[in-house]
Subunit: 301 residues, 2 copies
Amino acid sequence: MMENSENKEKHFKVPNKHLTKLHEDVLYHIGFSSKDDLPKLFGDVKFVCMGGSAKRMFVFAKFMQEQLIGIVDCKDEPKDICSTDRYSMYKVGPVLAVNHGIGMPSLSILLHEVMKLLHYAKCSDVVMVRIGTSGGIGVKPGTVVVTETAVNEMFEPKYHLAVLGKIKSRNTPLCKDMLETLLSCKQETDSFDVVKGKTLSTSDFYENQGRLDGALCDYTEEDKMEYLREAEKHGVKNIEMESTCFAAMCDTVGIPAAIVCVALLNRLEGDQVSTPPSELKQMEMHPQQIVSRYIKQKLSK
Amino acid sequence: MMENSENKEKHFKVPNKHLTKLHEDVLYHIGFSSKDDLPKLFGDVKFVCMGGSAKRMFVFAKFMQEQLIGIVDCKDEPKDICSTDRYSMYKVGPVLAVNHGIGMPSLSILLHEVMKLLHYAKCSDVVMVRIGTSGGIGVKPGTVVVTETAVNEMFEPKYHLAVLGKIKSRNTPLCKDMLETLLSCKQETDSFDVVKGKTLSTSDFYENQGRLDGALCDYTEEDKMEYLREAEKHGVKNIEMESTCFAAMCDTVGIPAAIVCVALLNRLEGDQVSTPPSELKQMEMHPQQIVSRYIKQKLSK
């Protein structure tokens, strides 16, 4: 009895008290329901790994499957288990790999529904890792940036959202232990650097990131460089479009979280992503290698 | 000579003056380049139709192909012409159908790149239509809402974005002519209503829309109902996640634009989208029918 109730205590729970009133909870965008046998399907999940692109998350799931054969039961090729076309999800033993689309609104829907999935599945000791692509600030293309703090366009460690018409601010801390362990997963033989730094999270790829090559741009190159250098002074090492929302939501529900992105270009030297696709694919593997070593290390304990 | 220069005047141009300095412009997320023969590939585009889901936009492209056979040259099944997995794009004669993912950041990337595509392709007389799904306010599920004005979470007709760390506000007007013509495309035999109203655009599906069934929710049912009734008082007929950004960007570049969404549920009666998938598919056709009639009417002139 004692052991059972202790185990129950450890199950991950989302803080929303209204859910108990629902007869059924349809996780509309990922295509599951609280009436499915979620504990059987997902009860063993320990690592939720996510990134923007569905294809990239399939590559990651396949890579993890190769890495974990013999360690966990995962002999079949990963299949997309989302029944909708909004998101794609793959399960490889205790690793759930899912894409979140582009930007914080798309990410937030996925997080709400995946967090409820973990809740109904009675998961325990889960961590979340965002594996992304980004623009670097003063780092070489191919560098992996592990996020120390996620900041908004004003360089504040905050995520603002409008709840019932009023602005609510959430803090954006990430897990220090995960950060340090991920940094230590760099190996001598790696062809790329792994650094820590602040990550700037924006709501657009063009104007919000100071690019000169969007359809709209009413500032000068000097204005742009001033903003990027200001970012650099604040310790920003890379720019993407999800980190503040990801950090704030994981912090609010109490899931330890980390963000590991590759910088595809150095924004102090240009705006265009004109690297050939084959090289981009190679670079996209860098954060996947770091995260796979992290997962293997945790599973071997 | 005279005629040529007049024609040139009419080509759609994006307002960003920096683009002339680019040797090549890689439209990174949709997989085209200014070095492709864009006038040949896209020069005849007149209607850019977009929605969140890739599968839904394929359904629309296929529907338009059936509708336009014999009117324009479009005998082959539409194929996805984006070489990336970020977005999917289909061309059916003068109709470009493309998905924009979920939320304004994802939409804004697509708009920047599609607007530049239209610019390099030297298109003229282009209009844009967003064909979406939404939650209704005081309307029957299945109702088509054509947007009069797009408003943000504070019910203002504004789109705010952070450019170089400073908040910039853009207005969100839509084309009145398109609105009236779209409303007139309703037919007696339709099983659904077509209404006009304000559309509330949010940055999240759960907390920002006052849902009680997210992973996070720290307000009461009374708070939620108060906000939704306030929305209703402001003339809001439906809630989605893209309209203010869509309206503001189209207005800024000078493309006439309209938003036509189906309401999948009445939010005054609940939060969950628990309608069976087959009925949802049926409802998703309602705005497609209205927009296809609009396009056929314009092409017949």
